[in-house]
């Protein structure tokens, strides 16, 4: 992933949980996440970027926490058995991610957050989300696991991640989810 280290705020180091102030991802930071940025954001949920089961407010998201996964040539599937993850906040999200995510939902008809999450790579404490996202995006393209959204040929994972964010933020009145 080129230029990944160009962010003002570095992505979490390998093998360590991100500091508390990274729970809220700034727009600029998201932009600089670059390829797979949305995906990294969602993967980050499994790495502790989202609050887990600590809040049941209006923006609480209940989703099964992925535990194992198998990847085929074109799709990935996840067996979900663990306790649900409760996502309480993403932070300030670039509205373009939401716009894209909404279109992904419209185009694919995939609007179940749990099912979308189940198709994304789970968190790995040994790799930072950005690196993991980039690898998954690259694999998606290599395996032709892509989705066409308004003509844009996107890696399935990055498109689904945007959809997750859009669905989660759909009730937001501003850009903060």
């Amino acid at each position: 992933m080129r230029n990944a280290d160009a962010s003002d705020t570095p992505a979490p180091a390998h093998g360590s949980a991100p500091p508390e102030d990274e729970h809220n991802i700034s727009r600029r930071q998201v932009l600089r996440l670059g390829s797979g940025g949305a995906l990294a954001l969602v993967i980050g949920a499994g790495a502790g970027w989202f609050d887990r089961a600590r809040d049941s407010g209006p923006k609480t998201l209940l989703a099964p926490a992925p535990t194992t996964s198998t990847t085929t040539s074109t799709t990935s599937s996840t067996t979900t058995t663990a306790a649900p993850v409760t996502v309480t906040g993403i932070g300030e999200v670039d509205p373009r991610i939401i716009t894209l995510g909404q279109r992904v939902v419209e185009v694919t008809g995939e609007d179940d957050i749990a099912e979308l999450l189940a198709q994304l790579p789970e968190a790995d404490q040994d790799r930072d989300p950005l690196e993991r996202a980039a690898a998954r995006v690259r694999t998606d393209f290599e395996m032709s696991d892509t989705i066409s959204v308004d003509g844009w040929i996107l890696a399935a994972s990055e498109a689904r991640a945007a959809a997750v964010i859009a669905l989660f933020c759909s009730e937001s009145v501003d850009s903060t989810c």
Binding site: R2, R96, R138, T146, G151, I153
Partner: protein, 533 residues
């Protein structure tokens, strides 16, 4: 020497060893290859040394098939080829690239394919062709051009997609460049303003003479030991179809194949892309221009342009046809590159495709595709006649739904290769880019186009332009049942008539045709000299 045929006496009969019809890239190459040989050569050129309207009007015809457009603008048949010394090289862009090995192979998914010669048979001629079209040499390897130009090719190299290098002639107008030598040649006579009207012969197996006329009213004949048609992909077929002394279907046309399989290169404004900010440096392109450096000879410059193409391996495994993709940087109305304005394209681009701290480079995509051989796509004769009484051309250019599907599939393969390389993202909107994007690609327009893309993009009806590349109308084949000329470019059915130019291409490929036209012409000249010498 150069002679004005209008000064000849009507009823004259001229003789030569070789009579060449047409003074374009093919005809001039063959004549020049015979320069100072023992053969006398007479080259018939319809026009003079400059364009004139009356002669150019002889190229008019009707198009009844797919619309002929260039940069979104309709074009007429007489705009796609030129009738004066140098032929269509008088307005070519100069891009050179030889045919690929796959082009010569049999591809079972096509109705006809495969040449009766192999790529290896052509290898000796690429370097000689490079001399005539005046490019550096026959080395088209990416490494060579990265070194020569000091830039990098697009960093995409997968099993399916690879960078390609086009060399650039600047551009060599064959008439202007070779007229002095032709004028001074002792064994070559170029007859200007001499229009071949009929290949006369009463048995259909040999040409007895060529009936020739000028617009000023002079008529004469030319007799030769060998005749070479080198008038272009449309006019070669036209003249054969119009030569009906022995068969109303035309000369050498007992199987009805003359004029069939007419192929063009499908030109498609394919959409947009956002690529890494260093795109301009990587590709060696700024504003779509060609990268040049000082060449190996005094006064010579290396010129090349990079593109992406589907690999031969992919064409074989995916049973598809060729596709090339060029990236043309967008510009604001004031001419400033988009990236200098900090502008990115579309709502997706900044988030997904732009991976660096600087805005990504907005580009639009121009694709060039090979169409499948289609017998229904053909050159015929119309009912109207030109000023010399010759029936005009009726062109029924057709491409198929399968062609469109292959284009889309190929573009998607390229988009995926670019994504996998982390070089950017492509938005495939065939026909969604307007021609004025060349000069006036503004961010607002791009955003508007992006946002106006319908839910279901119409992939069945996107507009397709033409490249002015007229091919395959006298295709080369092993048997008379599948083509018009044999491996030596001789007509299957006419003993003393050969054909030069892209009309002999068995399949079109995606390479710009001029270099291959010239290489095949050299090969034919060698053959004729051996045969007649």
């Amino acid at each position: 020497m150069l002679t004005d045929a209008r000064a000849l006496n009507s009823g004259s009969s001229l003789r030569a060893d070789v009579c060449i019809v047409g003074g374009g890239a093919a005809g001039i190459t063959i004549a020049m290859e015979m320069l100072n040989s023992d053969l006398s050569v007479l080259l018939l050129e319809s026009g003079g040394t400059e364009s004139d309207a009356a002669t150019q009007a002889l190229a008019q015809g009707e198009s009844i098939g797919a619309p002929l457009t260039s940069l979104d603008n309709p074009v007429n048949l007489d705009q796609t080829r030129l009738r004066y010394l140098g032929g269509t090289t008088n307005h070519w862009a100069g891009f050179c690239r030889p045919l690929s090995p796959i082009d010569f192979e049999t591809r079972d998914h096509l109705v006809v394919s495969g040449w009766p010669i192999d790529y290896a048979d052509m290898v000796p001629y690429w370097d000689r062709a490079a001399e005539w079209v005046r490019i550096s040499d026959a080395d088209f390897s990416i490494g060579a051009w990265e070194r020569r130009l000091g830039v990098s090719a697009p960093p995409i190299d997968t099993l399916a997609v690879e960078p390609l290098a086009f060399q650039v002639s600047f551009p060599t107008k064959f008439g202007d460049v070779y007229a002095p030598e032709l004028r001074a040649a002792a064994n070559i006579e170029v007859l200007l303003h001499a229009n071949a009207l009929n290949l006369a012969g009463n048995d259909g197996q040999r040409v007895a003479h060529v009936d020739v006329a000028t617009l000023s009213g002079v008529s004469f004949t030319v007799e030769a030991r060998a005749y070479v048609l080198a008038a272009g992909g449309i006019e070669n077929a036209r003249l054969l179809l119009a030569s009906i002394d022995s068969d109303p279907a035309g000369l050498g046309n007992s199987n009805g194949l003359v004029g069939r399989y007419f192929s063009e290169h499908l030109q498609i404004y394919a959409g947009f892309g956002v690529l890494e900010p260093d795109f301009g440096e990587v590709s060696g392109l700024q504003g779509g221009e060609v990268a040049i450096t000082q060449g190996r000879h005094a006064g010579h410059v290396h010129g090349a342009k990079f593109a992406l193409g589907l690999t031969d391996a992919h064409l074989r495994s995916a049973a598809t046809t060729g596709l090339e993709l060029q990236f043309l940087p967008g510009r604001l109305p004031d001419g400033a590159p988009l990236q200098e304005q900090g502008v990115t394209v579309g709502d997706i681009s900044a988030m997904m495709a732009h991976t660096g701290p600087e805005p990504g480079t907005a580009v639009y995509l121009q694709a060039l595709a090979e169409q499948e051989p289609n017998p229904q796509s053909r050159v015929m004769l119309g009912s109207r006649t030109d000023a010399l009484g010759m029936r005009r051309v009726r062109l029924d250019w057709q491409y198929t739904a399968a062609d469109r599907r292959r284009v889309i599939a190929g573009l998607r393969v390229m988009a995926e290769a670019i994504g996998a390389a982390d070089w950017g993202r492509l938005q495939l909107v065939p026909g969604g880019v307007h021609a004025d994007a060349h000069d006036n690609l503004v961010s607002g327009e791009l955003l508007t186009i992006f946002r106006s893309v319908p839910d279901e993009i119409d992939l069945s009806g996107f507009p397709v332009g033409v490249g002015f590349h007229h091919m395959c109308t006298t295709r080369m084949s092993r048997s008379v049942e599948q083509g018009v000329v044999d491996a030596d470019c001789r007509m299957h059915e006419v003993d003393n008539l050969w054909v030069a130019g892209s009309s002999v291409f068995a399949t079109a490929g995606t390479a710009t045709p001029t270099m291959s036209i010239v290489a095949l012409s050299i090969r034919l000249a060698d053959h004729l000299q051996e045969l007649l010498g």
